[in-house]
Symmetry: C2
Subunit: 199 residues, 2 copies
C-alpha cells in the first residue's frame, strides 16, 4: 500500500484510461481530491450510467443507449439510399462537422485485424449485408482509414457490395486543402498521385 | 448534442481530469465503451467512494479516509521528533521510497501563492504550529520544491519554526548523483554551488 486504501484504489483504477500511466494517475487523483470533488462525483455517475446502459445502434452499430442513434432515428437525412462506412464514432462526428454528407452511416468499431481476432463478424458485416439485401441502398461509400488494415477492410467490404450489385466507392486521400506539399508525408503524396483526376 | 446523451455526458465529464482535452476525452470514452466496461465500472465506484469519503489526516494533512493516515498511525517510525514538510502526497511517496527518513511528515497540499488566494491558512500552517507548540518536535526539515513559490513557503515556515525555537533545515538541492554536470540546468548548478560543503 502506498497511500490510504481508497486513494490507492482511485489511482489504480484511473490506469484503465488509455495513455494514463502511474504518474498521471497520481496527478489526476490528487487534483480531483484537492479541488474537483463535484466534477469527480459527476464523472463517477456518468461512467456508471454509460458503462451499464450504452449499447449499439441496431442500424449503424455506433454507441447509443437507445435502440437507434440520433442519426439513424432522424427522418431528416436526405440521402437515405447511401451508407458511409467508417471505423469509429469519431469519424462520424468529423464527417457530420463537414456538413457535406446527408446519408446514413455504418460504424465498424475497428478494422479487420486477424491477429487480434477481429474478423468480419466482429465488425458487424452481416448486419451491413442485411442493409444491402433490402435493395434500398444504392451506394456504399468506404471511409475507412488509409492504413494497411483500413485498406484491407475496404477491399473486403467492396467485394460484399459487388456481390449485392451495390455501387461502391472510396473517399479520396491526398494532399489536404491548404496543406503545403513539402510537409505532406510520402504515403499521402503517393495516394494523391494514384488518385489524380484527369482535367 | 454530438453523440447519444449518455456518451456525450461521459466525454464531457472526462474533461475534469487534468491534461484531458476534447480529443483524448473522446478516445477514453470509446475505449471504455468498446473494451473496458468492467474497468470503467470499477473506476466509477472508486471515484465515488474516494470523492465522498477521503478527507485529510488530522496530523499531517495528507489524503486519507481515516482520521490518521497509515504513516501517522504507525508506531514504528523511529524519528518521531522530526517533521519533514512537503508540498504534495507524491513527495511523501518519493521520500518513503528512498527509505532514509523515518520521521513524520506535514503535507502542505500546495505552496504559498497569494495571487491564487493560497495563504498560510490554506496550507494548514496553524496545524503545523500546534505540532511545534507541543515541544515534542526537535527539528523541521523543509522539502518544498526549489521554485520561487517553494522557496518563499520554506522561508515563511522557517520563521515560524524559529519563533518556537525548533531547529529548522532545508534539504540540499544540487547535481543529482549519476547526473552529468554538462546536462544539469543552470539553476540547479547555481544551487549546488551555493550549497557547497567545505572539505
Ligand atoms: Zn445509428
Ligand atoms: Zn498523516
Amino acid at each position: 500500500m502506498k497511500f490510504s486504501p481508497l486513494v490507492d484504489e482511485l489511482i489504480q483504477s484511473l490506469r484503465c484510461l488509455p495513455g494514463v500511466g502511474p504518474k498521471s494517475a497520481q496527478r489526476m487523483a490528487f487534483q480531483l481530491l484537492e479541488r474537483e470533488r463535484k466534477a469527480g462525483l459527476k464523472l463517477a455517475d456518468a461512467l456508471s450510467k454509460a458503462m451499464s446502459d450504452v449499447g449499439h445502434c441496431q442500424s449503424c452499430r455506433t454507441f447509443t443507449e437507445e435502440s437507434l442513434c440520433p442519426i439513424c432515428a432522424s427522418n431528416k437525412r436526405g440521402q437515405a439510399d447511401t451508407i458511409c462506412v467508417v471505423e469509429t464514432p469519431a469519424d462520424v462526428l468529423a464527417i457530420e462537422a463537414g456538413g457535406h454528407f446527408s446519408g446514413r452511416y455504418f460504424v465498424l468499431l475497428g478494422h479487420l485485424s486477424p491477429l487480434d481476432g477481429i474478423g468480419p463478424e466482429e465488425l458487424g458485416l452481416s448486419l451491413l449485408e442485411q442493409h444491402l439485401q433490402t435493395g434500398d441502398i444504392l451506394e456504399l461509400i468506404l471511409a475507412t482509414n488509409p492504413t494497411v488494415e483500413g485498406d484491407a477492410t475496404a477491399h473486403y467490404i467492396a467485394d460484399i457490395a459487388r456481390r449485392h450489385n451495390v455501387k461502391v466507392s472510396r473517399i479520396a486521400h491526398g494532399v489536404p486543402v491548404g496543406g503545403e506539399l513539402e510537409y505532406v508525408d510520402s504515403t499521402t503524396l503517393a495516394l494523391s498521385f494514384n488518385g489524380r483526376i484527369q482535367l
